[in-house]
């Protein structure tokens, strides 16, 4: 298919490559995808991502889409959300999912781990106050269980409460009965998830060869999702 022949913006790519760590081929492929999603415009909007058929049955779809428009993920110390993003910002968000290179020092690994966990934290902390409150955590668990119908709501609350208690126990240890645990700060978040080894788990494969177009065209013509949804609705 010749991904190589469509690398028009070499100097730009070099800049992006240094910033995000992707290779030129990967940037090229992602650029193609970006153009495809945004219908050849320069900026991407929420609706463009909403129409991706693969995301349709993802329980945390809204959070994922929000993460793309969250300024905190653009590494520019901004806050709040935007309505549309450019390719550069798209790449920066994607770069959170790059695997760590083979020969990295412990410090670099630690940095990468913090970065990825920061991304997750931002996804949970929707009001941007620096802590994940109980309400926000409950919302997270509810969304995760949103596919399981009515029985999810009460159990979600219970699960979120238990999880919050666990975080408080691990992070703070002892609290007087009238002290109030405000919410999970980023440091606490790091602490409770340090065993997950996020730098090896939160990665996806970025292609160097362009095989995406074939699959996608076919996909968008025959949305097979609907079959499953019909069945699920029936039950």
């Amino acid at each position: 298919m010749g991904a190589l022949q469509s690398l028009p913006d070499e100097p730009e790519y070099r800049d992006l490559s240094e910033k995000t760590g992707f290779s030129f081929e990967q940037i090229g492929i992602l650029h193609k995808r970006f153009k495809q999603l945004s219908h050849n415009e320069d900026t991407l909007r929420r609706d463009d991502l909403n129409t991706i058929p693969d995301l349709a049955c993802n329980p945390i779809r809204t959070q994922i889409i929000e993460a793309f428009f969250d300024k905190r993920n653009f590494h520019q110390n901004g806050e709040g959300t935007v309505q549309e993003i450019s390719f550069e910002e798209f790449l920066v968000v994607m770069s959170h999912f790059r695997p760590p290179a083979l020969n990295m020092t412990e410090e670099q690994r630690e940095n990468i781990r913090r970065e990825k966990l920061r991304f997750l934290f931002n996804m949970h902390d929707t009001d941007n106050d620096g802590t994940i409150t109980l309400e926000e955590y409950r919302h997270v668990v509810e969304e995760l269980l949103s596919r399981s119908g009515a029985l999810g709501k009460e159990t979600a609350k219970g699960i979120a409460d238990a999880a919050m208690l666990e975080v408080a126990s691990i992070s703070v240890g002892h609290m007087e009965p009238d002290e109030f645990y405000e919410g999970i700060t980023f440091e606490h978040f790091l602490k409770i998830l340090k065993d997950i080894e996020i730098e090896t788990r939160m990665n996806i494969r970025f292609l160097n060869m362009d095989t995406t177009n074939l699959c996608n065209d076919w996909r968008q013509e025959r949305p097979q999702r609907q079959r499953f949804e019909w069945l699920e609705r029936k039950t």
């Binding site: 995301l55 083979l102 159990t155 219970g158 998830l193 039950t235």
Partner: protein, 674 residues
Amino acid sequence: MKLGFHLIPRLSGVVPESCLLIVVGLLVGGLIKVIGEEPPVLDSQLFFLCLLPPIILDAGYFLPIRPFTENVGTILVFAVIGTLWNAFFMGGLLYALCQIESVGLSGVDLLSCLLFGSIVSAVDPVAVLAVFEEIHINELVHILVFGESLLNDAVTVVLYNLFEEFSKVGTVTVLDVFLGVVCFFVVSLGGVLVGAIYGFLAAFTSRFTSHTRVIEPLFVFLYSYMAYLSSEMFHLSGIMALIACGVVMRPYVEANISHKSYTTIKYFLKMWSSVSETLIFIFLGVSTVAGPHAWNWTFVITTVILCLVSRVLGVIGLTFIINKFRIVKLTKKDQFIVAYGGLRGAIAFSLGYLLSNSHQMRNLFLTAIITVIFFTVFVQGMTIRPLVELLAVKRKKESKPSINEEIHTEFLDHLLTGVEGVCGHYGHYHWKEKLNRFNKTYVKRWLIAGENFKEPELIAFYRKMELKQAIMLVESGQLPSALPSTISMQNIQPRAIPRVSKKREEEIRRILRSNLQNNKQKMRSRSYSRHTLFDADEEDNVSEVRLRKTKMEMDRRVSVMERRMSHYLTVPANRESPRPGVRRVRFESDNQVYSADSVPTVHFVQPSPLSTPDAVSLEEEVPKRPSLKADIGEPRGNASDNHQGELDYQRLARCLSDPGPNKDKEEDDPFMSC
């Protein structure tokens, strides 16, 4: 023997258990020979039909699925290509060796050498399990070596049978080679298919066993063994069938069977596999003493050296290729442990033993095989632990299942699937998600009894955790203190709840007490009966257990209060801070923690004027010092000593005179669980 081994910690730190067992076998065999009797040799039939299946079933049933599926490509490459490489490399070089005149083995032809190579090349699951269990290495390396040792059985079976047939016939044509390749696919895929069919049958059967809980474990064992036998009968790979059966069966069976059956299965499997393993190693030792030997220095030494060399070369070469396709690359340390962990064991010995006596080299081969086994188990087994520590390889993190990790694991799965969707290509997570959905919509509804099939994993995990805690509570009389902390629900819940009138409180206490006594009665009588199991419904009903848990705590608290009844009322106010002293929150007993000697107290507190009245529940708290902070009708004994604030009668008066707004809900609340 095993007991003694584990009681001497220094010994178990140096020598892996398998080594000791072989030594014991040697001693026993030597003893028998000295006596003059014929020592029993490891009969291959016995080995393959009785001793090996429990170990493999144990391994397959408890195989950690997530790391396995994430690395299945790597594992398959190592298992298939690695074993092939080992077999041909060793066979070829040994043949070249035998051509040298001075060795004196010129009678050995290529096919025999290749046959020998194929026997010795396979990494042995029994030995790997025995050694790796004790070094607690990180999950990735463990699953790589272990998975490889399980999956290379198909290759071994095919190569062994092929070469044995060929060496009888004498000539090999290209067609034969091609058929050999086809045979490999048939054997491995056929084995997996047979195992999967039996797995589904077992899952389907377990759906209907809700009335006959006692024989549930039997089905699991029976179906697995039949899978093994069936595939061995058709000369398919029995080990792969067993693994497939265990893996397929497990999620459905566990959703269907009772908790007791699950425990039974777990312990029986562990017990059988432990016994088998012990017997295998002892027999190995005995057979060494007993068996006919033909020693040829050059051949044996070369075999051992070639084993090591080919393994190292194979691992390095394959990793080089594999790393191009992996997201998370294998480091040099990982590669070293994978190479070093390639132990040979009893399967090689039994296969060698199975060689018919017409092979003129049989004794030589057996001797060489035994030497290789001894070398790998003793030398590599003993030195792997210090090497792991020396190289500072990542160890397994011993952590309890944490609900936060579980939530985030699932969250990550969805997140990565979503991002892959945005990226537009179908990666690992996409297919996993598809399989999950297919599983949920079609398969689970057939194989899981009742309404359970709709339950997502997170909820199932949470319920399991609760059940475990509940059972521990019932057994020990108190909640397990997972972490020494005094944090309770109130610390994280910002809401305050209105007060309860004294009369109401008395009523509640009375009701609780009576209910609790009933329950305690019932529980005690049941636990001592040997012939009746717990009622399945009650046992499986988590909310019921939670209820019991709640009531037990209530009972304790109530009895405490009873003992030191007094009408002296004091009020919480141990802080001068403007916020209300203590807040009452919904009773959540799951992660409540308190130590045995502290006195749990019941609090009734005034709410802050701004908070909205909410559902009432009784709350529990651990006072750090034995002071009782807020008590109505609580002991005056030691409270006054450590009482930390001033009393505020007015607040109490207001509190008591106002009946709680949610009077009707009060009674239900202690029994309600989230």
